[in-house]
Amino acid sequence: MKRALAVLATAVVAAVVGCQKEPLGHLTPEETRIYVTNHDSTADFTTYKTYHLADSVAIIDNGYATKELTATDQAYIDAVNKYMQERGYTKVAKDQNPDLGLTVNRIYQTTAGAITYGDYYDYYGGYWDPYYWGYDGYGYYVPYAYSIYQITEGAISADMLDLKDASGSNKISLVWNGLIRGEGIFNASNADAQVKALFDLSAYIKTNN
């Protein structure tokens, strides 16, 4: 009788301990995604009127960058254009002196280690040469602190640069960035909703027309 009780009790203990709820096992793909935005609090987004969005995506793979345009990339570019124009900004060609420059980037890190988001901006000139914006020889400047994210798998980032004040300061300042991580982010059908999520966090991105 006693042995039976001990066996039964042990079985109950093992069953309960085995029922631990695994946190990541109860997330849908949408629930795994995080959207992070950061901005220069001194920037007045209402004073910018025009923008140019690079028409290809920088693929940053283990620290090395190439340019590409897949269907998914195009979906992200289309979404950024859509929400910038909804906020009142006018898209112009690169040689028409846009106030803002935007880039979309895919970031991968598959080798051992991780991309620290701080390093990402240290090497930004290697992904988007300032010459691209017509400011050969300029450097990029990040005027605000941001959380250090270690990207060990993949992420999509969107970066907004102040071109209007570049020649006056001899540097191209980052005024806003958005980061998307999680499952299914490299899926064209998710692009619009994910870019919308970044803009929903950024009510201050709007111009006065």
Partner: protein, 202 residues
């Protein structure tokens, strides 16, 4: 003769606890309270067990060690969190907490040594809980493991399987004070409801 047998039987039942080491195993249902409920996990946890090795000092008092395991989990709807000075994050927040308490405990049965079939008890104890706390924003998380001071007060009943038997059912409730001073949290207090069996170890 019959009276003598009854005396022997009652003496045997009354003497069941003294000098006997018992194991008490229970299913445990835990309800967070206070700051634990307000800030970390508001859902009750049905995933827990407690056990206690109790030595009968006399018919009324016993002392020993209680150990346990409890798993808490809560997933919050997507919300916006300020994660930096000018940084905001939209995410589904998940908190997952596992606790393993180890408590030195004493139990008092006011009717111990009498012929009462149902034996109520009160208990008190103090010890330490190992706490593993994981928090996720989406699929991205961090974890911290630490030990926390734990104090406990409880009450319940013990009912033998048969009159005078040393094995039986246990039902009880404990209030646990669990100190937790990390990440601006203050405690993980909870009310535990438990049901199980107890039996002597020989």
């Amino acid at each position: 003769m019959l009276a003598l047998l009854m005396i022997i039987t009652s003496v045997s039942a009354n003497a069941q606890q003294k000098g006997i080491l018992k194991l008490d195993l229970n299913y445990n249902y835990s309800i967070p309270s206070g700051a634990f409920k307000n800030d970390i996990i508001s859902n009750a946890s049905p995933r827990g067990v407690t056990g206690a090795l109790m030595y009968g000092i006399n018919n009324k008092w016993s002392a020993g060690l209680q150990f346990g395991y409890q798993d808490y989990y809560q997933k919050y709807p997507r919300a916006i969190y300020k994660t930096g000075n000018n940084e905001e994050t939209s995410a589904v927040l998940t908190n997952s907490v596992q606790t393993l308490p180890l408590i030195a405990k004493a139990t008092f049965k006011p009717l111990g040594g009498t012929s009462s079939f149902v034996q109520p008890y009160i208990s008190a104890g103090a010890g330490i809980s190992m706490i593993d706390f994981k928090q996720y924003l989406g699929a991205f998380g961090s974890s911290a493991t630490s030990g926390s001071f734990t104090a406990q007060a409880g009450a319940g009943i013990m009912v033998p399987f048969s009159k005078g038997g040393a094995s039986g059912f246990s039902l009880g409730a404990d209030y646990n004070y669990v100190s937790y001073n990390k990440f601006d949290y203050s405690n993980m207090n909870n009310l535990s409801l438990r049901a199980g069996i107890h039996f002597p170890l020989r």
